[in-house]
Amino acid sequence: MTEELIRVENLTMHFPLQKGLLANLFTKGKRFVRAVDGVSFSLCKGEVLGLVGESGSGKTTTGRMILRLLEPTSGEVFYRGRAVSSYAGRAMDDLREKMQVIFQDPYASLSPRMTVGDAISHPLLIHGLAKGSGARDRTLAMMEAVGLSPAEFLYKKYPHQLSGGQRQRVVIARALVTEPDFVVADEPIAMADVSVRAMILELMIRCREMFDLTYLFITHDLATCKYICDRIAIMYLGKIVEIGPLKEVFANPVHPYTATLLEAIPVPDPRYRRTHPMPKGEIPSPINPPPGCAFHPRCPLAEPSCRLNEQHLVDLGSGHKAACSLKTL
């Protein structure tokens, strides 16, 4: 786990705000949604990094920029040391083969008019990896590998004839059929039922071992990270506020936001009811983020200095970093 596969440097995405004609005439300067604001991290081969945050924290946008489904405003993504923006044409197509994605909603990510077999073999045809009976054989083998069996029987089925869990397996099989080494999984279990979630999670863990995969696991649910992630990065309003080995962050959360998130997770045991109430407030608008530390309006420990000073990640040793000067000084 020492070879670096993906490195993200200062990745930033500012979406320009659409305004009406009058507003454009009478106000100066463009306004932006600061979806992602200077995010840096790296992923070693075989590692699973959990990217955790509430809606609007920029976690999905980060994932999309890594896959170059979105062009970043600034910053760079490196795949095996080479800048992704330097790839073009055929080389970019080859790179896409190696970097795949699993989305949240298996209903929306499968065409209702394509059979399971067509959907899974499609990437093989697009990338020219196999055709005819070769493509069919590889598809059937992948279907068996992800637990879509009997594969021959399911090959001709349409998405609406499958259960939710089976659909997500199709999406996973389709992502893995080109033999990628990096997969962005964007909330892969958020839509699934409780018992199906455990199944998908277990499948993802098994696939990681079978196919030697590296995952960026995007989720809002810290509790599931425990079962799949080696490290986690906590995002808040477009910035990483804490990153480190999963066990270390769970045991010693440094940033007050991480601590709040951990405390908010409802434990399925009445013995662990929260005894003191949650801090008030919700995630602010990324159009006008609060000055200084973006979390200060909700932070139970906030001091006047938090409004003034922007926070930067500080290394606390063994790869654990946090952006809170109150706790890291």
Binding site: E54, A198, P266, V267, P268, D269, P270, M278, E282
Partner: protein, 321 residues
């Protein structure tokens, strides 16, 4: 908690949806008592009938859904056989309901204040607009929302605030039963926790009885006094919250509890349950869970189990005969 006569009793309730390929029996013979002041967690996976059960209590089922048989006794009066007038006076003022997505429950064209005025005046036309707004302001205050926001529109509020508005609308007529159907599913983790805190305060302040319908066992563990686990339109298990989490009886409850993440436990992996939920048009004979059950016996394939008592709670499973 009053352990005298129940406030709400469901007796052998059966809800059906006739569709082209047959009849979906979404709720199949459910009997349940609810006592004043308690929070009942109604849990299960999609399609288990928990939302349908919730909707059928104030008779809000959309056609073709209908209550096929059974009784719903609210303080001794049978809601199933109630006339329209009586039903309308019950809904909102005695039994209130909130839903998963606050944005679709609020009208984008009307101010928050208008929603409150309309709700109050629908039940009592003699109340003036000004007085209704006054009441709304005091309810909002108890929810931590400034009265000035009554002039705002739903799109100007955050998700958590919209859900607090929904509960405000539900509470303004001082109901004694609140049915909350997945109230936090559309909310972020921290806001979800805030909302559960709020529900806990409100239940005491308004002396509410709450049915909390959710798939999230963590939320139920935070708030519920008792839990009902549903599977395939039937009750699998019912009992005090702590006892269900500590000693689940039904193999389905056991499987469900083992398959959810728990950050306080030190287990390295989740357990998975084989199979998928039953087809409710043609449910399996006997116990609906038997095709997935790891401890299935011959009886289970033939006879539907009644609720058997054990360890202070009840489970519909032949293992406890």
């Amino acid at each position: 908690m009053d352990t005298g006569s129940p406030m709400l009793s469901l007796e052998d309730l059966k809800v059906e949806f006739p569709i082209s390929i047959g009849t979906v029996t979404a709720v199949n013979g459910v009997s349940l008592d609810l006592f004043q002041g308690e929070v009942m967690g109604l849990v299960g996976e999609s399609g288990c009938g928990k939302s349908t059960l919730g909707l059928s209590i104030p008779r809000l089922l959309r056609p073709p859904g209908r209550i096929a048989s059974g009784r719903i006794l609210y303080r001794g009066r049978d809601i199933v056989r109630m006339g329209k007038r009586e039903l309308l006076s019950l809904r909102g003022s005695k039994i209130a309901m909130i839903f998963q997505d606050p944005l679709t429950s609020l009208n984008p064209l009307y101010s928050i204040g208008h929603h409150f005025v309309e709700t109050v005046r629908a039940h009592d036309g003699r109340v003036s607009r000004r007085e209704a707004l006054g009441r709304a302001a005091s309810v909002l205050e108890s929810l931590g929302i400034a009265a000035e926001r009554l002039d705002e529109f739903p799109h100007q509020m955050s998700g958590g605030m919209r859900q607090r508005i929904m509960i405000g609308l539900a509470l303004i007529l001082s109901p004694d039963l609140l049915i909350a159907d997945e109230p936090t599913t559309a909310l972020d983790v921290i806001v979800e926790a805030q909302f559960l805190d709020l529900l806990d305060v409100l239940r005491k302040q308004y002396n509410l009885t709450i049915i909390l319908i959710t798939h999230n066992l963590g939320n139920v563990a935070q708030l519920a006094d008792r839990i009902t686990v549903m599977y395939g339109g039937t009750i699998a298990e019912v009992g005090p919250a702590q006892s269900i989490f500590d000693r689940p009886l039904h193999p389905y409850t056991q499987g469900l509890l083992a398959s959810i993440p728990n950050i306080r436990l030190d287990e390295p992996k989740l357990k998975t349950m084989a199979g998928s939920p039953p087809d409710l048009v043609d449910p399996p004979a006997g116990c609906v869970f038997h095709p997935r059950c790891p401890q299935v016996m011959d009886t289970c394939r033939q006879d539907r189990p009644p609720l058997f008592a054990r360890n202070g709670h009840k489970a519909a499973c032949w293992l406890y005969r």
